[in-house]
Symmetry: C2
């Protein structure tokens, strides 16, 4: 059923898309979360001349940054360079980056949430422009991935105001003002659906919903404030031809809820063995999950641990990835070795 | 067996100690992680006049702060006011607080680890002095708890240099220099054993080992770099008359390893249902685990959610606590209500 929904043609040849749509491919395709970014000298060179927001909002720059890792490594997919906060401009929220997001006026009251602007026109159309530029440059066997932040994670930043260890303000607000939080999540869900539909129309062949702060919540809370909105988003994207990837960080205790989501691929962080994930997520493709820190180990350890992940990923479709985003001081040489190891492994 | 190890007398009457040693008491005793601290106006008054380090290192101040929440609420245990980094002075490490710990020279090489000073004399004896002062003031039915940081969490701070979202430097070091990390963990284990023995000799009736950053690791990594050292510490404390509490944060995926540790009490964070914890940790007492954020909910929700935790804690010994430390802006009135609700609940 799922396979019937995506187009043939280029897709048939692109290993990333074959695996994403559930094919148990003879080799695992690979892409890397945050592959377009700070660990690449060519990125840092651009960054020295432009602000993060300029890079995100200028299609030529975003496209160039998206393509940088593809030129350097034989990766199986490109992911558009952007940020999960990008679409929130449509709600009239003012966000700066230094380098993490800082919300000028954190949402700390129901009144602020009710006063959010209704989106007017397309959401962050420059991301669509960048996707089209990338697709024009990309070879057909390389997949193109769009993404968005999951509403509960976006709400965490909007209410807390910036990154935080415990998200005290956000978690207190969730308990003190649950009705207002639902209003916010509903608004964010609408924006996210429009934003991801636009990305698919612009050429994204897969879209990943990132729930970076899922791990803050217990299961009943996640079922109340997370899952219903994620289901709505993922259902709205069904049948549009793009594979739907859901990735939650620190979510081993939320597996039962995540397993109910309608998506083709489940991303798994480094703390869950892929065999356990295979048992939990059934016929879906798995994506992940080498500990990012292994890139700092010696070459023998890198090979052994990468093989361990590839071994664990057998028995179904597997898209290789790190278990979380690559860090700014990672070595591009280690990334090159990693891609070689993955491509050299017969599943 | 475990019960035979602790003294009778005062212990027989102290609800916290009865539950900690495994008795299925008719009411759950309660204490709160970080109960001595910033959410209390009387603490902030002292803090305005002294630095954090002065407060930790001056027995009269540390004792006063330890007693502040006991004077205000009918809590069943006091926990000594200190910090998990306190004993590291014995290794010659220079640490400041602002408010989190900042290590002047983070350990980023094997050479730095090998050069750490060997402890010379008692570890942080002012903590022992503070414990004696507290015990002299404390009524017999109120338990007294000492604590230490788990070596892998201490190593995380020492290598990273300060708190961090991802602990990139620490996790990279673990992969790049595993042998050096083992040397560091061995040193930290020795210090922790001496430090906790000193606290028990000074009057601590229970000691909690805090593994605040357990959640960073996958299970094989935790079994390699965490569990062996924790077992060594907990075994060294056996038979000294103090109940051993092990608490790891974000550790739902590490349950199988934690269940093997020799301790009387397992602390559980808010993300694991106590029924599941009961199944995993067998006959041990459970400690926890109301989501700290519930203190910000309305009174009816606070009562309902507290009852839900108390319900889940039945079927064995239960020490009520939050699922993590209380936050600085929590309301003392909500804490008063919480203590009343817990004490009013017949198990």
């Amino acid at each position: 059923m799922l396979k019937a929904a995506h187009g043939a043609g280029a897709v048939a040849a692109a290993p990333f898309l074959r695996a994403a749509w559930g094919e148990d491919t003879p080799r695992a395709p690979i892409w890397i979360m945050r592959q377009a970014g700070r660990y690449l000298p060519e990125y840092r060179e651009l960054k020295a001349r432009s602000s993060f927001l300029e890079m995100v909002r200028t299609p030529e720059l975003a496209a160039e940054i998206t393509l940088q890792p593809i030129r350097r490594f034989p990766l199986d997919a490109a992911i558009i360079f952007s940020d999960i906060m990008t679409p929130l401009d449509a709600l009239g929220v003012d966000i700066a980056f230094s380098p993490g997001p800082h919300v000028a006026e954190p949402l700390r009251s129901a009144a602020q949430i009710h006063a959010l602007r209704a989106p007017d026109g397309p959401i962050a159309p420059f991301v669509g422009d960048a996707l089209r530029l990338v697709r024009a440059e990309l070879q057909p066997h390389v997949g193109l991935i769009g993404f968005a932040g999951a509403p509960l994670t976006l709400a965490a930043y909007l209410i807390e105001g910036s990154g935080s260890k415990e998200y005290e303000h956000f978690r207190a607000f969730l308990r003190a003002e649950p009705a207002a939080l639902h209003v916010l999540l509903e608004k964010l869900t609408g924006v996210t659906i429009d934003y991801l539909k636009m990305q698919i129309a612009a050429g994204a062949q897969a879209v990943q919903l990132f729930d970076s702060w899922a791990g803050l919540h217990d299961l009943p809370t996640y079922r109340t404030f997370g899952i219903p909105y994620y289901r709505k988003i993922l259902e709205a994207l069904a049948g549009l031809g793009a594979a739907r990837i859901f990735f939650a960080l620190g979510a081993a205790h939320l597996t039962a809820a995540i397993a109910e989501l309608p998506c083709e691929v489940v991303g798994v962080d480094w703390r869950t063995d892929l065999r356990a994930a295979r048992a939990a997520f059934g016929a879906r493709a798995l994506q992940g999950n080498l500990d990012t820190a292994i890139l700092y180990a010696d070459a023998a350890t890198l090979e052994r641990e990468t093989h361990a992940v590839l071994d664990a990923g057998r028995g179904g479709a597997h898209v290789f990835n790190l278990g979380h985003g690559i860090w700014p001081d990672a070595s591009p040489d280690a990334v090159a070795r990693l891609v070689d190891i993955v491509h050299g492994y017969e599943r």
